[in-house]
Amino acid sequence: MSDADRSIDDRGTDAGDKTELERAGDVETAGPGNDFDPVQVFPESEEMDLRPGADDCYKCSTCDTSCPVAEVDDEFPGPKFQGPEQWRLKRQEDHDIDETVMKCSNCMRCDGACPSDVPLSQMHNTARGEYVQKEMSKLSVEYWRNRTLANYRRLAPLAATFPRTSNFVMGLGPVRWLGEKLFGVTSEREFPEFATETFRAWWAKRGGTETSRRRAKAARAERGEEGSEKRIAYFHGCYANYNTPEVAKALVRVYEHFGYEVMVPEQRCSGTPMFANGMLEDARRAAETNVDELATAIEEGADVVASCSSCSMSLRQEYPELFDLEGVDDVAANTWDAVEYLQVHEDLTGELEETSVEGVAGMEDFAYHAPCHARNQGLAGQTREVLEPIDGVEVHDVGDSCSGISGTYGWKEEHYDTSMKIGEEMFEHMEAADAEAGLTECPTCSMQMGHGTGYEITHTLEVLEAALVGDGSDGGGARPDR
């Protein structure tokens, strides 16, 4: 049996040079010691140098077992092929990027699987970028559909200006049918509703950073933390701004409760949907703004927190992997998941021990799904652990299956079925769990959970808000606005 295989890795300096050790065992070089440097993909460098990464693959196929698309789609060759193998093939002049790379949903599960630290998702992102750039017709419906989906942020302001009209029009059957026929956006899904007031509009109306500073100071005084300065820069992303401002407001209130002054820097889309659609140029432009703004906030003493797990993933991992921007590593190192940050910097458990959400409607039993992008950041069990001390709330983890929607992926007509097949296990587990409501940190997972089960879906921060500051319908939380 194969357990006779004895792999050994070598932290040698030269990845191409086989050592005697390897010749003896006939294994390939592997190991993070061949320090794998993030490479600049655009615009200067035409060639992606992922050689050390490709060489690290010893073909164990572990990554293939964690790929949710390969599990349900017979045509998808899997992460090992899309990554290291395709990279090698492509080195031969006449080999184009295989179009199946567009079937990858960018869930990044393969990254967490590879025992040899092969940068799979980076390989997929670069391959996808190259495929779109070189092989996809810029006149095709697919290209424009993908570009529109990826740049949802650009349409959102329009829709948000006329939220009621937009919600009405998007909801119309014929519009959805036309969307599918002409544009390849599935008619199976309900478009997300636009909020009548964006988060940023609320924030400005509330008095922006000034108000936050005042409230944070008052909270610190009450907590006996005078003299200390606590400050965060909130990366809200598009969805919390346009569609679920209640999540963003919850974050503000929870942080202010702990005495943090909240800053809300200028920002653009995190780029997640653009990576997934191979629109690396668009993503790079967005990244430039984001890194610039966030680096400035960091200089002003803030740490960056995000409420969406794909946004934090993007700032922490994809930016430094793909773009060589000034300050990019600094931003990555100082960006946190919003709940994780509190868990590390505050006595969150202690604070929550006295609290209760008993009697708050819709906050009793949750079926919790950890988004892939939270899982990859080591946050899978966090929500269950954090909410545990709160009285009246029960969190049932529905296991490690992928929800299947993966951002824009499940919106495409051609991927809808795959997306629902992947989600089936999660739906089954949600229905088997002792709960009629869902809980997650990712906006698109939340769409999929709602779509597959009809449950209302809540964000962890909303539960924390309910426990710590009560119902914040006055715009300022339960604390009197001083």
């Binding site: 050994i8 964690s66 960006t335 868990q343 899982r375």
Partner: protein, 447 residues
């Protein structure tokens, strides 16, 4: 504020999971942090304790297969981890593990190794085997049909059958190769086969489900055999249901032949362990590596370890630590051109100074590198070059330990379970001690 627990286990393989479960079983608050998926996905899912004794000569020829692995433990070299923990602890650990596995595994009724046919048609001595392989044992006299699939070249039914017969099994084995209904890709993933069967997806126009279609494809090839063996792809979420459906359609027993990497039985074992961890209240965090530690002054204790999250350093503090980061594959032991290292705590890993002495000339010989790892004391605390304990509150378990060669001995899971169990027990006991000490100190401290 750091994240705080009684016991922190680093590494989520079979050793780390066992250590965490064993410590939690003793009442400790336990957290487990692991970087990547464990080598369980590569392993067969069989729980090997000891199949062969290591040889004394350099050509690697070993004694075995062993009938009773426990009886053979005293014959192992003194530095072997089984000798360190002792045969009684190995037994205790296995019965603890049996409790976790429930009826999903067989073999606990006897000390003797079971003989399980493997994908190449050889027979492997193993201590515990999954229920799905139970009908396939080589000691069972019933004739067997082995079914392989055209799109799954790693298992060839006819070849495996021929090898089994050549190995002298007490029954007739015959093999066929069929096409798997619903799969066309040459290199479809094992999870794809499993998913089709799990969900019983329609694989033909008339809506026939994958389970029935597979049985229908096999039926005409049965020539009176009382059992049918398939490569281990029969479901991931619902393997029992899948097997039961096939048995009902075919009217004979169905079993799985364990496969090499990537392995569904290994994945299922991993799922089972993680479910047990959740049930035991162990907090599991995966996807992030532990990269460093800090110690408080020079009292020889680890104060906290640092988890790296893309550059953000997250402190995790515990009273006791268990190092279960695996061997050269799991990345618990690494080598460069100068030396072999344990990368987190830089614990001492003995090795020859000349790296030409790290391996044997013969590719299949006894390679010293196969035994590289940290050297523990009786409580499994790693020791430095002069034999002193490196850290008072650090224990090591599994493949990060030196002194054994799991591949040659067929002892991988067994050593991980035995040392994980012992490390977890000691860690919990020490941390309870510590808590008790704090409590009594509080009482006697004058106000």
């Amino acid at each position: 504020m750091a994240i705080e627990d009684d016991v922190l286990v680093i590494g989520g393989g079979i050793a780390g999971a066992t250590a965490a479960l064993s410590a939690a079983d003793e009442g400790a608050d336990v957290r487990l942090v692991t970087h990547k998926e464990s080598t369980l996905r590569n392993a067969s899912g069989l729980i090997d304790v000891l199949g062969y004794l290591p040889s004394d000569d350099a050509d690697g020829a070993s004694e075995g297969p062993l009938v009773d692995p426990f009886a053979a433990i005293p014959d192992l070299p003194e530095t072997h981890p089984y000798r360190t923990v002792g045969v009684e602890a190995v037994r205790e650990a296995l019965s603890f593990f049996d409790g976790i596995l429930g009826d999903a595994y067989h073999g606990a009724h006897t000390d003797d190794n079971a003989l399980v046919p493997t994908q190449g048609g050889s027979v492997k001595p193993t201590a515990r085997y999954p229920r799905s392989s139970a009908a396939g044992l080589a000691s069972d006299p019933r004739d067997a049909l082995l079914v392989g699939f055209e799109t799954l070249p790693t298992f060839e039914g006819p070849l495996a059958a021929a090898h089994l017969e050549a190995a002298g099994v007490p029954f007739q084995a015959r093999g066929v190769t069929l096409s798997f209904p619903g799969i066309v890709r040459d290199d479809a993933k094992v999870t794809r086969y499993a998913h089709l069967l799990d969900q019983d997806e329609a694989v033909s126009r008339d809506g026939t489900g994958a389970r029935e279609a597979l049985a229908a494809a096999v039926q005409p090839h049965l020539e009176g055999e009382e059992r049918v063996g398939f490569p281990a792809v029969l479901g991931d979420e619902h393997p029992d249901e899948v097997r039961a459906a096939l048995e009902a359609h075919l009217g004979v027993d169905v079993f799985e032949v364990p496969m090499g990497p990537p392995s569904l039985p290994g994945l299922r074992l991993e799922d089972r362990l993680y479910a047990a961890l959740e049930a035991a209240g162990v907090e599991v965090r995966s996807g992030v590596p532990v990269v460093d530690y800090e110690s408080d002054g020079d009292d020889g204790r680890i104060d906290r370890v640092v988890v790296d999250r893309n550059g953000a350093e997250i402190p995790h503090r515990a009273d006791q630590y268990v190092l279960a980061t695996g061997g050269l594959v799991g990345k618990g032991v690494e080598s460069n051109r100068e030396r072999v290292i344990e990368p987190i705590f830089d614990c001492h890993v003995p090795h020859a100074t000349d790296r030409y002495d790290w391996f044997s000339e013969d590719a299949f010989g006894e390679h010293p590198f196969a035994r590289f790892g940290v050297v523990p004391d009786g409580e499994l605390r790693p020791r430095d070059g002069s034999g002193n304990v490196e850290f008072e509150n650090l224990r090591a378990a599994g493949a990060v330990l030196g002194g054994y060669d799991y591949a040659a001995e067929k002892s991988g899971a067994g050593v991980s379970i035995a040392t994980g169990y012992v490390a977890g027990r000691h860690a919990a006991a020490r941390s309870t001690d510590a808590r008790a000490r704090v409590a009594t100190n509080d009482e006697v401290t004058p106000q």
